[in-house]
Subunit: 239 residues, 2 copies
DNA sequence: AGTACACTCTAACAAATGTTAATGCCGAAG
DNA sequence: CTTCGGCATTAACATTTGTTAGAGTGTACT
């Protein structure tokens, strides 16, 4: 059941059976969330961290004028709020973008892991570091890429991340976001988001309909995005 | 000499003398960097992490078209590349924005800390988590704030962070960046950066000359920025 | 079958932001 | 003292992006 988590953590370094058991032992109960529901509320102080077993979720902040910005997309195998284990207070919310099935890991047991399992601790730490690396890539995309390139980069990133946890088939993956939600990812108006998607479609590198993205020309998409997956740390090496 | 580091880590939770000694024991040699020099090169695989003792530095990425985007600003007491301890390969560069005096912490000794000092490990982990929280705040600023608000937010953040490590005097702090460098922070053209700075000056909330920023109206600046320091985790509590 | 609703897409126009170029200021180097 | 070069500033114009409005489309519900 924790296959996605093992795939996610295991992509960076070998995960022993004992470590898998420790992770499994940290888990408590499961729960499902409907689309649009908050999985974690901004301002809350969770005592457990939430692992996505299935579905797509996002971190977001809302400004006074009502504007919403997603700061990350979370796929199966991601701890959406592992950082709250040490940050304590959520400074943002986490919402389900598709029906989400999750499982909760108790902070007291995570703490026990940090006391007794240094290597596993480093892997969990690493998981949050990759999070940060993704954030940096998003900052670069928002600041200095063309909007088309930004979108292309996002699709490359999602494809690769979903591939790791075996949520792609061929060059296709499911992307349940509406264009309004995509606009909240890229920081655009809905109208302009529509223009940018249209532009990328017109180039012919992706097909995108019914919430399903098909990459028609991976090489060219990667070129448009200047996508270099180094930041995802997918090399398996001692950590 | 590591006062800034102790202030930085110690703002989140109590740091024992034993832990301070462990940190001091991880340090090896010191070095100075001139303005514009790379402190860490993109693509390198450092075997030590760099702590800023004095000066201002920034993480950055460069795109094929020559555009540069800063992804963070680093102040004294910050480990600029603590993440490389586990990420291994630098996917971005780090440059000195003012003359920087730094000290290097050996990865092998950091690893020893993770094996033997769980609480200190959690504090170092936390340090990288705050990094991530700042990244998220930057993403929100780039995506959904007005440029004036973004700039105001950046000044609020810098002021608070510099205050923690005692690099402010009254409502004033040193900001060595040129407007071209500021543009690479906010993701703007130099001309527009100049307009935005002019706008914030005209409002009368900050004075800014000779690389020195004076906050004239903290309350209103915070209002313009919608600045809420929660994300910096400055509450001292058990971690 | 008909209605309501959410979503995509387009058009027309307004506002924000980028580009190019020129001016002035000031400190470093000769 | 003079010259040079980097930086801040402004203007004029081009391009990108936002806003408002509306038309089309498909699906769930009655």
């Amino acid at each position: 059941m924790l296959e996605s988590l093992y795939l996610n953590l295991g992509q960076h370094d070998a995960l022993s059976d004992a470590e898998k058991a420790l992770l499994a032992g940290a888990m408590t109960f499961e729960r499902s969330f409907a689309v649009g529901q908050d999985i974690v509320a901004s301002g809350s102080r969770p005592t457990y961290s939430t692992l996505i077993l299935d579905g797509l979720a996002a971190r977001y902040k809302v400004l006074e004028n009502g504007g919403r910005q997603f700061t990350s997309l979370q796929v199966p195998g991601d701890f959406v709020d592992l950082h709250a284990f040490l940050l304590k207070t959520m400074d943002h919310g986490i919402v389900a973008l598709s029906p989400c099935h999750v499982i909760f890991a108790d902070h007291s047991r995570l703490r026990a892991i940090t006391e007794e399992a240094p290597h596993l601790t480093r892997l969990l730490w690493l998981d949050t570091l990759v999070d940060g690396a993704i954030h940096r890539e998003w900052i670069v995309a928002m600041g200095r890429r063309s909007k088309t390139s930004h979108l292309a980069h996002l699709l490359c990133e999602l494809f690769v991340r979903l591939q790791v946890v075996q949520r792609t088939s061929d060059m296709t993956f499911h992307l349940p976001l509406s264009q309004a939600e995509m606009a909240d990812v890229l920081g655009l108006s809905v109208v302009h988001m529509n223009r940018v998607i249209g532009a990328l479609r017109r180039v012919g590198v992706v097909a995108w309909a019914n919430h399903t993205v098909t990459i028609l020309d991976w090489h060219r998409l990667q070129e448009i995005a200047e996508f270099d997956p180094t930041y995802l740390s997918m090399m398996r090496e001692p950590r």
